[in-house]
Symmetry: D2
Subunit: 343 residues, 4 copies
């Protein structure tokens, strides 16, 4: 950490800060330049990160040198994390983060048991390795369909066995964490709950794989810090998911920030997913952006399917028709091959 | 609601949509222009709002005519809502939303019983009518101070009695909602939890006053929809709080969007608060922005105070020194008088 | 266009607006709903677009039904535009917007005649069909290198002949438009000048191909309206370029909005380019994002090369080394093939 | 400047950078911490600011310590700049940046000679000290009214004499700079041209006062760097203007960032203006935000007036009626008095 002093800082002010830093158990390296005096803090930066150094008289700026994340950092592990979902008895285990790009597909929300089975079968037969479907739905309006809740979880557990594939579903409430953890192979933390820190701690303690979606206005550093919450609570298998950020552009629902993929893979050892359905909000943009995400190095793609989007309970405009979905998976496979991976 | 068709939409496609709308119990008004055909939907727009009309073949765009909020809407009540906090026995009740601008002040987090009493006394004696202090703290890093939790709530209940003034504190977990509701006169939903819909429902059911902070990237419509969650769950006293949004500007922690104040007061009957401490992140900007918020019509201002910011456990850089705080309240009173209010 | 009235609008107010609309030569369709009265405006919407209908008493909102762009609109032409650059005598003409994805490469700025020739040769031999290089450089600081100006143009004209390939370079001033138009096969309007309307008119009148970069905070509609400026001034060959927008994310210089590619190709008949060098600002992100842009459907990619980035006069951090550039073009070709195109 | 090395940087890489820095005429202070090695660069930071240090092998990050602006910096002058506009013969000179808050008012665009005189008289009699009106208008659409140009300038020069007050108007093209400089007491650089660097240089060389508007997506540092362009070209009197930035919020045209006022006054000695008309885009929000800007410390406020907004050629929705304007100026005077200033 570097502490920069104002040009008018007095020697007393500079000494006062230096003494404090040494009190906290670190060393100081004072450098007096032509225009500014600096203190370089030597030692465990984490010890001073939370200290309000900006408020000490004479201090102009405080510049951290190290990243605030540790466990999730690429420096923390020599190898990339691979998440293995064994799935239900008899299923082929799915590995996320290896050479194969994983497709996670299903309906936005579980509308009924039959609908879930129908879409799940379409997803699986079209190439998906993991089934996704929402039992608890975060909705902007209190008057919109809020999901079938516990009943939806039950249907999901049944679909998991019947389709013989692992499932992932969202958890929104600390009180539901265990229940969701029992029903699903992987728990999803949604974008609106990314910084719901009590939920992160409760879910992290389950030690099950977690799919963590980037918040609509969260920086990549904040996303990594939320993964750090999960890892520090005991969860080793975190899948980071870019799903679009909020910008000024109205023609898309969100702006899918694909550069997040190479940045996250450089900064962290965790695998990275892209969600072009929520990222664009329009089914006709899902295909180009799904292919682009594979080309950018995504370890997986999540897709929403609906056989009759006109009747969808939620997010119909971004759902793919079964035929479009199947063709998209094929074209994603071609792009995966072009960048040295398979699907 | 207006449904706009593509120029190449067929009569069959247009009829199909019109029939569906009539099936849902609404009337249609078809208008064939030179370049586009439109269907005007007549009747209760809420019935079709959640329908995925955009995915019907031939449809180019769907434009809602009405706002999605009802209970919070200025149209829903002829008078502005005034929230009354009776406070502890013997206290003067505080009214938010009336002619008097309310000051809510205190430390960012409850660091100890003594510190809370010290800062609470400074807050009260300097002009604050409501004490704020955090027991549960949302922190970006899992390694930062997370608040004293239940012990903090106990201190807060004691300060409430001792200082004889109402208190507000943040609730972060549905499991803590009742406990926080017992300790505090008003519950705060923080910016990161604004769209934590399960928390909104749980807190709304307590029917206690709620201070709802705008999310970092939430539109004003989304903020109002979250207030609608609270009201539809039974809470009548919601205080909306602008606390800065996320933009590209790095010189301030957030961008305090003061235009939210007149917009929210036009759209809704609920009172509006501004938080210049979080909104700017720097103590030297808090004063100008607090005065500006009063001039823009805020019904209250929330301020963070710390007698020794150098030792603050959290958010030291934005805390006011006691002397600065007292002078600020005086200057805010002058501005309040200039716009026809008192403080 | 739909005019929505407030619930308390009087019949006189509604009639007043309807009369005005008819005065302007359009027809009206009045629809009285349960909660709002609407006027549908029938006829040439462009006639009323600029009228300040929002300020008429009783009006709540005005919703345009048609897009404000005409000449650039996909509806305006049955075929996609292909821009042909014949290049210097003896060169193979380059077609942009056809099945082949075009590579436009070169140095950020023309540092010297020798350097331009060196990098131009690397660009051409590595697969680029068009040479890019800046003679006039927009720089954030007045103390930074501002480009060699007219001397740079001269070098560029020489490189064009010597390397026998078309060139594109930026024009920043109306006074230079003709000169740049004589030296280059295509003129570039930079992101900071996207809404420099006098420059757009001056350049459009030259009737030469123009590469128009999206402004840092411009919507896609605004980008298309700037292309409309060029086309309405006489220029038929406009190449739209996504180069990153400004968001809150600090880990990349800008956020490359790749969803702009499918959106622009849906809205307009003009070809679309992506600039991953400026869009990310870091050479190690250029490769993944260039491949992603090709997968998303870009008609061309622009790349910055520098043989010795340590000595670059500008934008060194985003320049590719010659070897990295050559490998990238190969991998882009593989992705192009995967999506049914060539490179 | 601090250069941070990756944990795996070799001693050779570190030495190579240190040697380069010394070659450029600066001293180095190498500090080897537990996790990172740093080089502190001692001497004139401006010499290395433009060097692409990030691309040197082994370098992780480069952190400037000093601000990139010099002439505009608060450190550059011991006193705040006051801009004096003498105005036409017989006029009372207007001082911007002193104790008095200045009102700059007029129509958005000059629609006719009569209309300009009418609105100018309303502006002056209602309290404005400077007349504003646009002859050259930047418009999103090429089909919208583009201003009367040179004829408008002529009307403005006449209004200046007749109303006996200084005038300010926008210049959009380097070719018009001298002409506008002859007609007006102060030249305005609009938001869309803030980073039109050739225009900044041309206008700066006129050495006349300049009103520089912040770009829609420009940081405050970038705004100050554009003021630096003007000052380094010879202009000493630059008035910085906050006019709203682009965010995700759709209920206002832009987000007026009032915290820019105290930040700019801390960073620079130049006076600061606020434009609540463009900043909000709605006349009913102009009043609250104008008062808020005065409370936040603005040295001036710019307002748009139209006697018949229904007939305005441009920006009607944000224009104030004469009566509203007069009342607003009175309430702004009350707020100015509350913060120790006059109007």
């Amino acid at each position: 950490m570097i502490i920069v002093f104002r040009p008018d800082a007095t020697p007393q002010q500079i000494d006062h800060v230096a003494e404090k830093v040494r009190e906290w158990g670190l060393k100081t390296n004072i450098s007096r330049g032509a225009e500014r005096t600096l203190i370089g803090v030597i030692g465990d930066e984490a010890k001073v990160r939370a200290k309000p150094l900006e408020v000490f008289p004479g201090v102009e700026a405080v510049m951290p040198v190290l990243k605030p994340y540790r466990l999730v950092s690429a420096e923390a592990r020599s190898e990339r994390t691979r998440i293995t979902l064994p799935g239900p008895p008899g299923a082929t285990p799915v590995v996320i983060g290896g050479p194969r790009v994983v497709v996670i597909a299903g309906p936005c929300s579980i509308e009924s048991r039959e609908m879930l089975m129908e879409v799940g079968r379409i997803a699986r037969d079209g190439g998906a390795q993991i089934l996704r479907a929402g039992a608890f739905k975060p909705r902007t309006s209190p008057y919109a369909f809020q999901g079938h809740g516990v009943r939806g979880l039950k249907y999901l557990a049944e679909a998991r066995l019947e389709l013989c594939m692992p499932v992932v579903t969202e958890v929104m409430d600390t009180r539901d964490a265990e229940l969701v953890g029992e029903a699903a192979d992987m728990l999803q933390i949604g974008a609106r709950n990314m910084q719901n820190f009590t939920l992160l701690k409760a879910v992290g303690r389950l030690r099950k794989p977690v799919l963590l979606k980037r918040g609509l206005s969260s920086t990549l550093e904040e996303l990594l810090m939320c993964a750090e919450y999960l890892m520090s609570a005991g969860c080793h298998d975190v899948l980071l998911c870019e799903r679009g950020i909020r910008t000024f552009e109205p023609m898309t629902r969100n702006t899918l920030d694909l550069s997040a993929i190479p940045v996250l893979k450089r900064e962290s050892h965790l695998p990275v997913l892209a969600d072009p359905s929520h990222g664009t909000g329009h089914w006709d943009l899902v295909g180009p952006m799904a292919r682009a995400a594979v080309a950018a190095g995504a370890d997986g793609i999540t897709l929403e399917i609906h056989p009759r989007p006109e009747e969808a309970f939620s997010d119909g405009p971004q759902a793919l028709l079964p035929k479009t979905y199947r063709e998209l998976v094929k074209s994603m496979a071609a792009v995966a091959a072009a960048v040295g991976r398979s699907l």
